[in-house]
């Protein structure tokens, strides 16, 4: 078993970090967020040049045949720099959905454009309560004379208003919580009947509520429960990688701060209660990263189970909270301001927590499963 990154992955991480070091410092990022741009177009262009948008797709589709480990290797860096570009939503979630509909013409062309960095596609799944599984989808797709039509509402759709098309999870049949009858559909973002309420998330990403009223849509895949579950699982792994990257930065910056901040004539890190708290942060990081890397290896081997991703989702959120709450507390007053990266890392992890199901949901799935997965 090898849980280290390959030299190619390491090289990719290094060149991505070098670029972000130059162009995506915390101050530059804050300036970007204060502008009315949703994210950095230059960064997206650079990601494309580095091959990130082609990473998870096989060569047949125009990709470079990367693996989940490649996505994770990159995701950790995107988390460390608090990138707001919609990498996970456009490439991992929407891209994989497009790839699942092989053969369908607009999907292949759209995927090509995603890979080439020319198109933004969003993935709309969330319906407001965490929507942790495919079966929870309630939004309906009705088949009529001219094709399918979608009616309903999707929440927290990252990059929705900037996308040219949106992949939507919907149900052709049945009611919410029914595992059958699910489908993936594609809608044009400028189709009649679609409206957006745009906002930024607490961690600075461009998102929108999407309201769909009888919107024409093209069917990408039906009987899609398994496909949707796999897309969600990959999305969870990729988002977890970003959160773990954020945790790494929080741990490092807190240790540095505690070594330099003096109170009572000594560095605050020398108070035992803080030293122990940092020790807990370090153990939380070890736990979270090990779980991430192991789950990633299972995904790469094609043997990852629903319980494995549930463990990852819950643990990264929980360990992440341990780390960011301690980071804020150890920084004292300065940790409660928006002017330091600390709080922004916290908000990235906080935003991750409810997406695709909160820890409570996933821990129950782990507890309900017969036994603990053998590894």
């Amino acid at each position: 078993m090898d849980l280290t990154y390959t030299s190619e992955q390491q090289a990719l991480r290094d060149s991505l970090s070098r670029y972000l070091d130059r162009t995506y410092t915390f101050d530059q990022r804050q300036e970007l967020l204060r502008s009315d741009r949703p994210w950095s177009g230059d960064a997206w262009k650079h990601f494309t040049e580095l091959g990130l948008t082609a990473l998870p797709f096989d060569e047949e589709a125009g990709g470079i045949g990367g693996t989940m480990a490649d996505i994770v290797a990159v995701g950790e860096i995107l988390g460390e720099y608090l990138c707001v570009e919609p990498y996970v939503s456009c490439v991992v979630l929407a891209g994989q959905a497009l790839r699942a509909a092989t053969g369908s013409d607009p999907a292949s062309r759209l995927l090509e454009a995603v890979i080439g960095g020319e198109a933004q596609v969003a993935f709309a799944h969330e319906e407001g309560a965490g929507t942790p599984a495919a079966a929870h989808v309630a939004l309906t797709a009705r088949e009529g004379a001219g094709g399918h039509r979608l009616t309903g509402r999707k929440e927290l759709v990252l990059g929705a208003a900037q996308a040219s098309a949106i992949v939507v999870t919907a149900r052709l049949d049945g009611a919410a919580r029914d595992p059958e009858g699910l489908a993936l559909l594609l809608v044009d973002a400028s189709a009649p009947g679609i409206s957006f309420r745009e906002y930024r998330t607490i961690d600075g990403r461009a998102a929108a509520s999407v309201d769909l009223q009888d919107v024409p849509a093209q069917l990408l895949a039906q009987d899609a429960t398994e496909v949707i579950e796999e897309i969600i699982a990959n999305g969870i792994i990729a988002l977890a990688a970003e959160a773990v990257g954020a945790m790494n930065a929080l741990l490092r910056q807190t240790i540095e701060y505690a070594a330099t901040r003096q109170q009572f004539g000594v560095p605050i890190g020398s108070f035992q209660v803080l030293a122990h708290r940092m020790a807990n942060m370090k153990m939380a990081y070890l736990n979270a990263r090990a779980t991430l890397l192991h789950t990633t290896a299972l995904a790469e081997a094609g043997t990852v189970s629903a319980v494995d991703t549930a463990v990852l989702k819950a643990q990264v959120a929980r360990f992440g909270r341990t780390i960011f709450e301690s980071a804020i507390q150890l920084h004292g007053g300065i940790g409660t301001t928006d002017e330091l990266p600390i709080g922004h890392y916290a908000k990235r992890i906080l935003a991750f927590e409810p997406m695709f199901g909160d820890p409570d949901f996933h821990l129950r799935a782990v507890g309900a499963a017969a036994g603990v997965p053998a590894r």
Partner: protein, 401 residues
């Protein structure tokens, strides 16, 4: 021990309810619903204080001779309960709970006459200038200096984390007046009757929730009248320690915590559980809420024991214990809030949360306020002395008995 139901108390409850139902304006009510920390929206909180003061109810904790209500402990609880039930904005604490009681205890007659009416009515807002960039937990290391010159002190240095200094018109502060001897022995307590003295500059700081609440204040040769001194020169440490017992728990807070619980439970009734039904019916959620609810009730018992003057409450560690318990329960309540709000807490809605903005929130009011509450409440274990330092203080008292 006397927990009999008292008919007079029920009559009092009716009187309080009638007033609280009619006296606040719509903007004041909205401010209450938009309150996401210990500090309610400024303008409405001060306006509400004026209304309450006209009724004589602004300072239930003050002695009656200085404008307090003279209420019994039971009455104070009734008032707080009815107040919390209506989600009214809490009054800002600096004047009523901190510098006011201090002036009553330690101020000169002149200072009492000059300052207490404005504190009571809400005409004045007092910002607290203690902390400095280099002096937080180790407050006694503060360096902002005041040098006596005739009838004035001349101040140089800076303060940080001064809550709402940009909205204040007065300031109470600690300054260094001597560097001889132990560091605690050279500190003086000053009341500033303005915050716009020449040489004074105030810069707001944006907090985690995106609001401007704390500030930095810079002093460059600022001349203030020495008549604002409380106590003797270099005696400020003892004065501020006296004030701290107020800052760390002289108020009635449990009813507000109970209100949080009610709101969380009500919101949970509207949120579908991933297992069918609503979150409020979900046994795991019930158990988690039950744990916090039980701790809130125990905390209320502690609070009542303290306010009733029970011998246990004479322990010097009491204010610190009260502060740690209260702040950590508050934080757990806000975690539950965000959990119930779920993805509804992820959008950042700075404009919608502003009182009077008229901006429609994306979801419910509960979802709108959940994340700001959580983020702001990270500070409750930091301000008024961090919980690490409080636990140290509690630990130090252990060997004494």
């Amino acid at each position: 021990m006397n927990l009999d139901r008292d008919p007079a108390l029920e009559a009092f409850r009716t009187e309080v309810a009638a007033f609280l139902d009619t006296a606040p304006t719509d903007a004041i009510r909205e401010a209450g619903r938009r309150t996401t920390s210990a500090f309610a929206p400024f303008d409405q909180a001060m306006q509400w204080q004026r209304i309450l003061n006209d009724k004589g109810w602004a300072a239930p904790g003050w002695p009656a001779e200085y404008g307090g209500t003279g209420w019994s402990l039971e009455q104070r609880y009734v008032f707080s309960e009815e107040y919390a039930r209506r989600d009214l904005p809490p009054l800002l604490p600096n004047g009523l709970q901190m510098v006011g009681p201090l002036i009553i205890d330690k101020g000169t007659d002149e200072q009492k006459k000059r300052y207490l009416p404005g504190i009571l009515s809400g005409a004045d807002y007092w910002t607290q200038g203690y902390s400095e960039p280099g002096s937080g937990s180790d407050l006694a290391s503060l360096r902002c200096s005041a040098v006596r010159d005739g009838d004035d002190y001349v101040i140089n240095g800076s303060k940080i984390w001064t809550t709402l200094a940009h909205r204040a018109n007065r300031m109470f502060m600690l300054v260094r007046t001597s560097t001889d001897g132990p560091k605690q022995a050279g500190i003086t307590f000053l009341l500033l009757d303005r915050v716009d003295y020449p040489g004074m500059q105030i810069r707001p700081i944006v907090n985690l929730a995106g609001e401007e609440e704390q500030c930095e204040v810079f002093f460059e040769d600022v001349r203030v009248p020495a008549s604002g001194r409380v106590g003797e020169e270099n005696d400020g440490w003892a004065i501020s320690k006296h004030l701290l017992t107020y800052e760390r728990g002289a108020s009635v807070t449990a009813p507000r915590m109970r209100r949080h619980l009610e709101q969380i439970r009500a919101a949970a009734r509207t949120v579908p559980s991933p297992y069918g039904g609503n979150l409020a019916d979900d046994p795991v959620f019930q158990r988690d809420l039950g744990e916090v609810a039980a701790d809130v009730i125990s905390f209320e018992c502690v609070e009542k024991l303290i306010h009733s003057g029970h011998p246990m409450a004479k322990d010097p560690a009491t204010p610190s214990m009260n502060k740690v318990l209260g702040s950590e329960i508050t934080q757990r309540l806000t975690v539950l809030r965000t959990r119930v709000a779920g993805v509804g807490a992820v959008p950042r809605q700075l404009e919608a949360i502003e009182v009077g903005s008229g901006v429609e929130p994306l979801g419910s009011e509960f979802e709108l306020t959940a994340m700001p509450w959580y983020l702001n409440s990270r500070a409750t274990t930091i301000y008024a002395g961090t919980n690490e330092v409080q636990r140290d203080l509690v630990a130090r008292t252990l060997g004494r008995r």
